[in-house]
């Protein structure tokens, strides 16, 4: 476990959203909502508050070359994982997996979900 773990749920979700590609804030928000089937929705304040904290912690960074789309707005900024962020995400995922395994051993949840 590194110094960033455990991450808050919102931070972990942001790391997950950026795990496969660079995204802007709205893209992160949409990805989180879609992946969690709408169970988790990040508001603008929460999203950018966490982005600010995670950038300060070195978990994510602004992308040097933003993806330019047709409907791109200059106010958009793209974010990506840093190596530290990647490691923090992996560590957090393992921690959560361990917690799930413990819960299964205690028969709190079925062995196969």
């Amino acid at each position: 476990m590194n110094q960033y773990n455990p991450l808050s749920p919102a931070q972990f979700q942001i790391l997950l959203a950026l795990a496969d590609e660079e995204r802007h804030g709205y893209g992160i928000m949409q990805e989180v909502a879609e992946r969690s089937s709408g169970k988790m929705r990040l508001g603008p304040g929460t999203l950018y508050g966490n982005i600010k904290k995670m950038m300060a912690a070195g978990l994510i960074e602004e992308s040097d070359k933003p993806v330019v789309l047709e409907d791109d707005d200059p106010r958009r900024r793209y974010y990506r994982l840093t190596d530290q962020g990647q490691k923090a995400a992996v560590d957090e995922a393992r921690r959560l997996a361990d917690a799930v395994r413990d819960a299964q051993l205690k028969n709190l949840i079925p062995r196969t979900i």
Partner: protein
């Protein structure tokens, strides 16, 4: 669509106004982006499900806004406070540690002395064995000087060169609220007694000089020697003072250590990022 544009535009304006409440550092970084994002949220939601979706966006945003507003202000305040602390610590670190160390040694030394080893201190008092030597004994043999306490012990003190009044010891009563000549001693002027009484309000442990006049002629003076310096009391004022000095000394030691630590830790000025 005109109505939807109007609603979305109104939503955006309302949210823009609300965003002004975020602390300045946060706004400087994310104001434009967060407003753009909210605008997109409103447009997409309205396009998908109309008014209910737009209302849902607002409901989620209000709670999110309230929470994040408090959080951002708290973080900004904490960041400012930490920056001020760092400035203070850097100032402390700039103080020459040897000065602090010297002050610490002085305070500790004085504290230990006053608290424990002063003649009426906690440690030294039980072992006080110094006997007072009458300064006038050799200079003015026909005079003697009494210094009395309300305790049973009497101790003496005098200033060389001063004229003293002498009285026999039998005329001095100890253990009362004062040391005074007995009424049966007609040779003691009442004025002297009153003067003494007024000038020296006696309490247990007090020491005062009692001017004694030779009234019974040469050779009848009774000397009160030897007398134990220190009397039979602890000097609580000195002990308290010593205790305070000791605490101050320990505080200075901690400050010196902190200064050394900080001098190493913040050798470079912190640059704003």
């Amino acid at each position: 669509m005109a109505q939807s544009d109007w609603l979305i535009d109104l939503s955006q304006r309302l949210y823009e106004t609300a965003v002004k409440l975020y602390p300045a550092p946060f706004r400087a970084d994310y104001e434009a982006e967060i407003i753009w994002l909210f605008n997109r949220m409103c447009q997409d939601a309205f396009a998908q499900a109309g008014y209910p979706a737009l209302a849902a966006v607002w409901l989620r945003t209000i709670s999110d806004f309230a929470f994040s507003l408090c959080e951002q202000h708290w973080q900004t305040w904490r960041s400012d406070t930490m920056e001020n602390d760092t400035k203070l610590l850097r100032l402390i670190a700039s103080i020459n540690v040897s000065v602090i160390g010297l002050l610490a040694i002085l305070a500790l030394g004085w504290g230990i002395f006053a608290l424990g080893f002063h003649r009426n201190g906690l440690l030294a008092r039980p072992f006080t064995t110094v006997h007072w030597s009458h300064p006038l004994d050799s200079e003015v043999p026909e005079f003697t000087v009494y210094r009395a306490t309300a305790d049973e012990e009497t101790v003496c003190s005098a200033v060389p060169g001063e004229a003293y009044t002498a009285v026999p010891r039998s005329n001095i009563q100890s253990g009362q609220s004062g040391v005074r000549p007995t009424p049966s001693s007609p040779d003691i002027p009442q004025l002297s007694w009153h003067t003494l009484k007024d000038n020296y309000q006696m309490n247990r442990g007090d020491i005062f000089c009692y001017k004694i006049e030779l009234i019974t002629g040469a050779g009848s003076v009774e000397k009160l020697i030897p007398n134990k310096i220190g009397a039979s009391f602890y000097d609580w004022n000195m002990i308290a003072f010593g205790f305070v000095s000791l605490i101050m000394g320990l505080g200075l030691v901690i400050l010196a250590r902190q200064t050394l630590r900080l001098a190493g830790r913040i050798a470079e000025p912190v640059t704003a990022t």
